[in-house]
């Protein structure tokens, strides 16, 4: 009998599968809240567990126990499906990024395209959920979410395609792998071309981070759920278990965003030998989470029209310039 299927099953369920994603998402929420609080000269979660580390879990459990209200005028199917899809989509995507070793559990050629497709789907789900709740605030929030997606989706895709073009593959695991190889050869024989490539990729990383901020609806792009304007935006009407799923979904999206940044630009879970790849993965993604929470402490919120205008005026052209540079590099290499 082969142990292969058993190990795969364990990987899917325990590590780096569902259990790990669940725990790590909550952990990252805690890190995010702590860092955000410290930047603002306050404590953040403090009492639940060691320095409040269990606070996100406690919030999750508390929400599960709360009354779950579906508005009378809401479209039941859409309203119920949204939180489930909102959590499961990023969770599925987590299987496409390498965590435990050089290859992800479900890696295949072209999974980068699937990732784009699915992240767009998340926005669609948000829009449907917002629309089916029929609340004025959710409708406005849903529309804002869709509008915002139109402005950041293309440059975000371009930024992610950069390393893919250089690595000549559309598999996330392979891109990460290529990056590691490239770094190794660069360190062995430094060339001017290598420096240029690194600079261009660093620029791509900046573009991608900006896009991720918008994707994750973090300040300054938290427009679809701008608290002071439209209450909680598209998830205003959600409560109880559904809200718990949505919040968990957001956390999973956060770590998915961070691990995508890691895989595409930071070489995935690889690192110098004595430390296992899983640890490297955690270190790198945590760095990305810290980066995101620092950035969101630095800005005021944009207005939706400003975002659309600003994105098309600066962000898209920058992404195009970046893509041209990448193409040139690809030809030279």
């Amino acid at each position: 009998m082969s142990w292969e299927p058993v190990i795969t099953a364990l990987e899917i369920v325990l590590f780096p599968g569902f259990l790990f994603i669940f725990c790590y998402a909550l952990f990252c929420e805690w890190v995010d809240r702590r860092i955000f609080a410290r930047l603002q000269n306050r404590y953040g979660p403090l009492y639940t567990g060691w320095k409040g580390i269990l606070q996100p879990l406690a919030d999750f459990i508390k929400l599960l126990a709360k009354e779950d209200i579906t508005p009378g005028a809401a479209d039941k199917a859409g309203f119920t499906a949204t939180p489930i899809l909102f959590l499961t989509i990023p969770m599925t995507l987590m299987f496409l990024v390498p965590v435990l070793g050089p290859r992800a559990i479900a890696a295949f050629e072209g999974d980068l395209i699937v990732v784009f497709f699915m992240t767009t789907l998340i926005n669609l789900v948000v829009f449907i959920g917002a629309w089916s709740a029929t609340n004025r605030f959710t409708v406005v929030g849903g529309m804002r979410s869709a509008l915002q997606m139109l402005s950041y989706e293309i440059p975000l895709g371009l930024a992610a395609l950069g390393p893919a073009v250089l690595a000549k593959t559309l598999c996330i695991s392979d891109i990460a792998q290529w990056e590691v190889e490239a770094w190794k050869s660069f360190l062995a024989h430094p060339t001017p071309l290598g420096v240029v490539t690194a600079v261009v990729l660093a620029f791509g990383f900046a573009l991608f981070t900006l896009g991720e901020l918008a994707e994750l609806e973090k300040i300054p792009f938290d427009i679809p759920e701008a608290e002071t304007e439209i209450v909680a935006g598209w998830h205003t009407e959600y409560s109880g278990k559904k809200l718990a799923l949505i919040r968990l979904g957001m956390d999973v999206e956060l770590i998915f965003g961070a691990s995508l940044m890691t895989a595409l630009f930071l070489g995935g879970p690889s690192g110098p030998w004595p430390i296992p790849p899983a640890v490297w993965f955690i270190v790198k993604t945590l760095l990305c989470v810290v980066l995101i929470s620092t950035l969101r402490a630095l800005f005021a919120r944009f207005r939706i029209d400003q975002v659309v205008r600003w994105m098309w005026k600066y962000y898209v052209p920058l992404a195009v310039v970046y893509m041209i540079a990448i193409q040139a590099l690809a030809v030279v290499i």
């Binding site: 410290r38 930047l39 000269n41 306050r42 404590y43 403090l46």
Partner: protein, 119 residues
């Protein structure tokens, strides 16, 4: 980005927030907190009850001879200290004790009783 420097400087500083039930600031002098009453000094004139804007002070028994003590409803009290100000004998006084949270309004009634002589 204008605040970047300020933020990073504070990242490794101790937060200013106090972890309240465990850390406390000392109350300032002459804070207006819970009442205190001196049975010896009180003459039962009832002025404190008259000036109270929230009707939070009740006389037990009545004025003068019939006076048995005071009832102070902390849930209604505004902590303006007008009672302390008008008291001719300085018998009622606001202390610096400020932690008065309670689960029920009934726990927020202070009863000051004059002890009968000889008891």
């Amino acid at each position: 980005m204008a605040m970047a420097g300020e933020l990073l400087r504070h990242l490794f500083k101790k937060p200013v927030t106090l972890v309240y039930p465990f850390e406390k600031l000392p109350p300032v002098k002459k804070l207006r907190g819970r009442h205190e009453w001196d049975a010896e000094k009180c003459i039962g004139c009832g002025l404190c009850s008259d000036v109270c804007p929230a009707f939070a002070i009740e006389l037990i028994g009545g004025r003068g001879k019939a006076f048995k003590g005071l009832k102070v409803y902390l849930d209604r009290c505004l902590f303006c200290a007008q009672c302390e100000e008008v008291c001719p004998r300085k018998a009622i006084r606001l202390t610096e004790y400020y932690e008065m949270a309670a689960y029920s309004r009934d726990d927020l009634v202070l009863v000051f009783k004059k002890e009968e002589a000889g008891e």
